[in-house]
């Protein structure tokens, strides 16, 4: 008796192998998108870092409702820090496409692209180290923002560009869109709205969010290069042969991605502080 799980979501082993081979041939990075995204990023970055009039005008415009409606400020604040209403629904959308019967052959790609969406936040963090310090809107004296109600920002860095939250959220939305257009449109719209709650709260400029999104498109498309796709396929193999190991680990990884690994980061910095 085969030890493989035989749920309705898994085809027989021969069909799996065949569809894996066909899927390995069926997907590839979209080089036009990568090129356009890189060009856009290169144009955007100096504009974002130098603080243009358009940018400041936009921020002042968005800042107008601040401190006028406590309920609005409350919701914006909630969307800026709560994971249950931001990262969690986006990761749930990834779970949905993973489980779609039509997507079974493409699970390897879904997996590696989701990992890539998270990796974008790391890329973004690394970039923040090398990019000259640029204050967040709330810290920017030239802008003179009115902080929304109950804002208690804890900024441990002076790097607003690019936004790692936007990178992951828009990245996850992009992954969903890539594999399932209808759900993906919802996901991207949701991701953009959520990212803009952070703009409203003064954590990021609009260009930081756009840059994060562009970055994630580049990283996710690059994840479809064959070496990475092979990794995705290999990991996905475990979901068929050892689901009782794969899925608990996947759940923990999904929690980590949905929370942008805040807890491990806190843990590590706390330990570092003791040493």
């Amino acid at each position: 008796m085969s030890s493989r799980a035989t749920t309705a979501t898994n085809a027989s082993s021969d069909a799996d192998r065949a569809s894996l081979h066909s899927s390995l041939a069926a997907d590839a990075p979209s080089w036009p998108r990568i090129v356009v995204a890189l060009i856009a990023f290169v144009i955007l970055a100096p504009l974002a870092l130098s603080g243009t009039t358009v940018e400041y005008a936009f921020m002042s415009f968005i800042n107008q409702p601040a401190q006028q409606n406590a309920l609005l400020d409350y919701f914006m604040n909630a969307f800026s820090y709560q994971k249950l209403i931001t990262g969690v629904p986006l990761v749930a959308a990834i779970c949905a496409i993973w489980c779609m019967p039509s997507m079974i052959a493409r699970r390897g790609d879904i997996l590696i692209c989701t990992i890539a969406a998270f990796v974008t936040s790391l890329v973004s963090r690394v970039m923040q180290i090398f990019i000259p310090a640029n204050p967040r809107p709330l810290q920017d004296e030239v802008l003179g923002m009115t902080p929304p109600f109950n804002i208690s920002p804890e900024f441990h860095d002076l790097t607003s560009f690019p936004s790692d939250h936007a990178a992951v959220f828009i990245g996850l939305g992009y992954v969903v869109w890539r594999f399932c257009r209808p759900l993906g449109v919802l996901a991207i719209v949701f991701a953009v709205l959520v990212s803009f709650s952070r703009v409203y709260m003064g954590f990021h400029f609009a260009t930081d969010v756009i840059a994060g999104g562009i970055l994630s498109v580049v990283v996710i498309e690059l994840a479809l290069l064959t070496p990475f796709r092979r990794i995705g396929a290999w990991l996905t193999g475990f979901s068929r042969t050892h689901p009782q190991w794969f899925y608990p680990v996947a759940f923990m990884a999904c929690y980590a991605i949905a929370t942008l690994m805040e807890e491990p980061r806190e843990l590590l910095s706390g330990l570092a502080a003791m040493i």
Partner: protein, 268 residues
């Protein structure tokens, strides 16, 4: 694979049903006993045990930090236990018992909600950190005024951790032993940090076990079977919702509670 309500409950012989009832009765007795101890006759033995544990406080900053981190970081507490549930869900040998797993897991979480309700309905009972008679030394990094709840009894974290560990143990002995050991460790951190008395934890845990045993009754198992059926017929709906639910269970719906209490402040 058929999606009819699973028949495993019918597999239970009279002897097994008796054993489940006995477990439920013992759990109920523990709940009653700990309630009495908490509100009517505090045990001197418990106070001594709490103070003995408190001796370790502030001796090692690293130990205090690890205890603190285990008590509030979800990734290394609740998420670990819920991951155990997923391991069981996808174990080929346990597939016929998926309805039971689902129903009992939901029950374990509900016991945490029940604990919260009990906390609000019973007379205020200060946490060890705030108990002047006990005069605890707060471990490093713990603010004696952190917790604003009315009552420390019973412990909702204890309920969820012990409840989930009990569910896992019922389905798979080996994984269950690891889960129970882990749950005990997590509960110990909350005692060490002064959030709960030992009887709070035992009471919460017993409440959880009682709730899980009640969830073994056929009506609840039928509901669980109906939901489990969706995992076969509409997995692309079931699993995203299950992920959201599991996030909630692993975090004891902290964020939802925060959101709700924030909104209530606006309405009232």
């Amino acid at each position: 694979m058929s999606s009819t309500p699973l028949q495993h409950v019918g597999h239970q012989s009279g002897r097994s049903a008796l054993r489940e009832s006995v477990v439920a009765l013992i759990a109920l007795l523990l709940v009653i006993t700990t309630t009495l101890i908490t509100f009517i006759m505090p045990l001197g033995m418990e106070e001594q045990a709490m103070l003995a544990i408190n001796q370790m406080a502030r001796e090692s900053p690293l130990f205090d930090y690890i205890m603190h981190v285990l008590s509030y970081q979800n990734l290394i507490s609740g998420v670990g236990l819920v991951a155990g549930l997923w391991a069981l869900w996808f174990m080929p040998s346990l597939m016929p018992r998926r309805a039971e797993l689902l129903t009992c897991s939901v029950a374990a979480f509900c016991s945490a909600a029940l604990s919260r309700i009990m906390q609000q309905l019973t007379p205020p009972h200060p946490r060890p950190l705030q108990d002047e008679a006990l005069n605890m030394t707060p471990p490093a990094g713990v603010d004696a005024q952190t917790l604003h709840d009315f009552s420390s009894f019973p412990s909702d974290h204890g309920a969820v951790y012990i409840g989930l560990a009990w569910v896992i143990w019922r389905m798979h002995r080996k994984l269950g032993m690891a889960a129970i050991a882990f749950a005990v460790l997590l509960c110990f951190t909350r005692i060490y940090l002064g959030f709960h008395f030992i009887t709070d934890i035992i009471g919460g845990g017993a409440l959880a076990i009682l709730t899980v045993q009640i969830a073994l009754l056929t009506p609840f198992q039928r509901i669980g079977g109906w939901f489990a059926g969706f995992s076969q017929t509409a997995p692309h709906w079931f699993y995203p919702l299950a992920f959201i639910a599991c996030y909630g269970i692993a975090t004891l719906v902290e964020e939802l509670r925060q959101l709700a209490s924030g909104l209530l402040r606006f309405i009232l």
